[in-house]
Amino acid sequence: MRTDHGARSSPLGTLRRGMVGVATALCLAEAVARWGVDSAALPPVSLVLANTANLLADPDFLAEVGATLTAALTGLGVAALAGTALGLALGSVGWVERASSVVVEFLRPIPSVALIPVAILAFGQGAEMKVALVTYAALWPILFNTLYGVRAVEPLAKESARVFGVPRLSVLNRVVLPSTAPFIAAGVRISAAIALIVTVSAELLAGAAEGLGSWILRMSSGGANTDMVYAGTIVAGLLGLSVNGLLRAVEHRLFRWKRLVEERT
C-alpha cells in the first residue's frame, strides 16, 4: 500500500460526503421555503421531492424525459464529433484558424435562445430544431477545449515523433489526439449540461410536441402546479447529474495514465 500526503478519498467516503453535502443543501432549501420566503411560488423541497419520486415512476412522464434526452444526446454527439474535428483543424493548421477566427468569434457568443425563432423557421418545432440548437450551443466548449488542448501538447512530444519520421497525420492521430483527449472529454462534460439546458429551454420557450420542457410548460399553464413545475426542473437537474457521472466514469476508464501522473504526488 502506498500512502500519500493529503487525503485521497475512498469511493465510499466520496459517496458519504456527497450525501452529506446534498442533505445539507436540501435542509437549507427546505428552511428557506418554510420560514424564509413565504410564497406559494416556492413550495417546500420535501413536497417537490415527493412529487419528483412519483414522477419518476410515471411512464408517460418518462417518455417525455426520453424525448428530451434523445434530443440532447444526439445534439451532443454531433457537437462532439464536429467540435473535435474543428478544434483539431483549428489547433494544428495555422491558416484554418486565422481564416475562421473572426467568424467563430462572432458566432460563438450568439445565444441559442435568441436563435429559437430562426431555428423554428429552419427546422420546425420538432426534434430537428432542438438538435440543431443543442449542436450549436454544445459545439463551442468542445471546440475550444480541443483547441486549448492541442496548444497544450508538450512540444517535445510532437518533436519526438517528428524526429522519428512519424508521418504528419499520425502525429495528429497518435500524439496530439491522445494528449488532447482529456481536454476534449472535459469539453464534452461541460457541453453535456449545456445540451440538456438548451433542450429543455427550447422546449419551454418554443413549445414542442414532447419533452420535459413542454411538460413543464403544460404544467405551468395549469395555474396551481408550481410544485410539479419544480419537480420537472429537478428531474432536469438529476438528468444532468447522471449524465455527468456517466461521463466521469468513462473518463476514469480512459485516462488511467493521467491519474498515474497525478498520483505521482
Binding site: 456527497g18 445565444p111 413545475v229 437537474g237
Partner: protein, 299 residues
C-alpha cells in the same frame, strides 16, 4: 501566434525569408506583412460569408430571413452614434444596462468559481461534499429557474446579475478544477519543501499554473453570460438587449430581431477581444515557453 512580443529583429541575413523558423528572427516588414495578410484573411472570410448570405436572402425573400444589408443597416440605425446623438436611445436604454448586468454577473461568477474551484481541486474532501450539488445545479435550465430567482431576489437588476452569475459560473469552476489539478505536482512539492506558505502558493503557483485553463473557462462563460443576459431579460424587464430581442420577436419585427442578434455577436466579439488582451498579458511566459519550439520546418 508564435511571434515574440515586439522585439527588434536581428540584422537581416541573406537567407530567403520563407526558410526561417518564426522564432528565429523574422524581419519586421515581413512580420508586418504576414500580420496584414492574416488580418485580411480573417475578415475576408466573414465578408465572403455575408455576401453569400446576402445573395441567397435577396433571392429567397423570406420574411424571417432578411438580407444582411437590411438588418445591418437597422443595427447601425439603432446603435451607431449619429449626428443627433452620440449615444442612441437604444444604446442608453438597452445596451448599456445589459452590459452592466452581464459584466457584473460574469465578474461575480469568475471570482466565486475560481475560489471554489481552487478549494475543490486542492482538497478532494471539499470536492466530495459539493460535487453532486454542483453537477445538479449546473444542469438546471435557467428559464425554469427564473421564477425562483424572481421570488428570492425580486425583479430588479440584482436578480438578473445573480442569474447570469449562476448560469455562467460552471465552465469557470470546472476549468479551474481541471487547471489546478493539471499543475505538475512537482511544482507544489518544490514549494512545500521550501516551506512556502499556502497563501503564496495559491497566488504564485496555483493561479498562474491554472491561468490558461481558467481563461478558457471565462471565455466559455462569456458566451453563456450573454445567453443568460437574454434569458434574464425575457421576464419582468423593461429594458435591455434581451428585452429588445424578445419584444422584436413578439412583434415580428424581424429586422430588429436580427439586428439584436448581430449586436450580441459584436459584443461577444469585442468582449472576447478584451479577454484576449488580458490573456496576452497574463500568459506572456506561456508564449515564450511555446515559442522555443519552432513551427515545423519544411515538411
Amino acid at each position: 501566434m508564435k511571434t515574440l512580443p515586439e522585439a527588434d529583429p536581428p540584422p537581416d541575413g541573406d537567407r530567403p525569408a520563407q526558410t526561417r523558423a518564426p522564432d528565429t528572427g523574422t524581419g519586421r516588414s515581413e512580420r508586418a506583412g504576414r500580420a496584414l495578410g492574416s488580418f485580411l484573411l480573417r475578415w475576408a472570410v466573414l465578408a465572403g460569408l455575408l455576401l453569400v448570405w446576402e445573395l441567397v436572402a435577396q433571392n429567397a425573400r423570406s420574411p424571417f430571413f432578411p438580407p444582411p444589408s437590411e438588418f445591418l443597416a437597422r443595427a447601425g440605425q439603432l446603435w451607431l452614434p449619429s449626428a443627433e446623438a452620440w449615444l442612441t436611445e437604444s444604446m442608453r436604454r438597452d445596451v448599456l444596462p445589459s452590459l452592466a448586468r452581464m459584466l457584473s454577473g460574469l465578474a461575480l461568477a469568475t471570482v466565486t468559481a475560481v475560489a471554489l474551484g481552487v478549494a475543490i481541486a486542492l482538497n478532494r474532501r471539499v470536492g466530495d461534499y459539493v460535487d453532486p450539488i454542483i453537477q445538479f445545479a449546473r444542469a438546471l435550465p435557467p428559464p425554469a429557474l427564473i421564477p425562483v430567482f424572481l421570488v428570492l431576489f425580486g425583479r430588479e437588476d440584482l436578480m438578473r446579475v445573480l442569474l447570469i452569475a449562476f448560469g455562467s459560473a460552471w465552465p469557470v469552476l470546472i476549468n479551474t478544477v481541471e487547471g489546478v489539478r493539471s499543475i505538475d505536482p512537482l511544482k507544489h512539492e518544490t514549494a512545500r519543501v521550501f516551506g512556502v506558505p499556502l497563501r503564496t502558493r495559491l497566488a504564485r503557483i496555483v493561479l498562474p499554473g491554472a491561468s490558461q485553463k481558467i481563461l478558457a473557462g471565462v471565455r466559455t462563460a462569456l458566451a453563456l453570460g450573454l445567453i443568460l443576459m437574454v434569458i434574464s431579460e425575457m421576464v419582468a424587464a423593461t429594458s435591455g438587449i434581451g428585452f429588445h430581442i424578445v419584444q422584436a420577436q413578439r412583434g415580428f419585427q424581424i429586422l430588429d430581431m436580427w439586428a439584436g442578434i448581430v449586436l450580441l455577436g459584436v459584443l461577444g466579439y469585442l468582449l472576447n477581444l478584451a479577454l484576449t488582451l488580458v490573456e496576452h498579458r497574463l500568459l506572456a511566459w506561456h508564449r515564450i515557453a511555446n515559442s522555443s519550439t519552432p513551427e515545423p520546418a519544411g515538411q
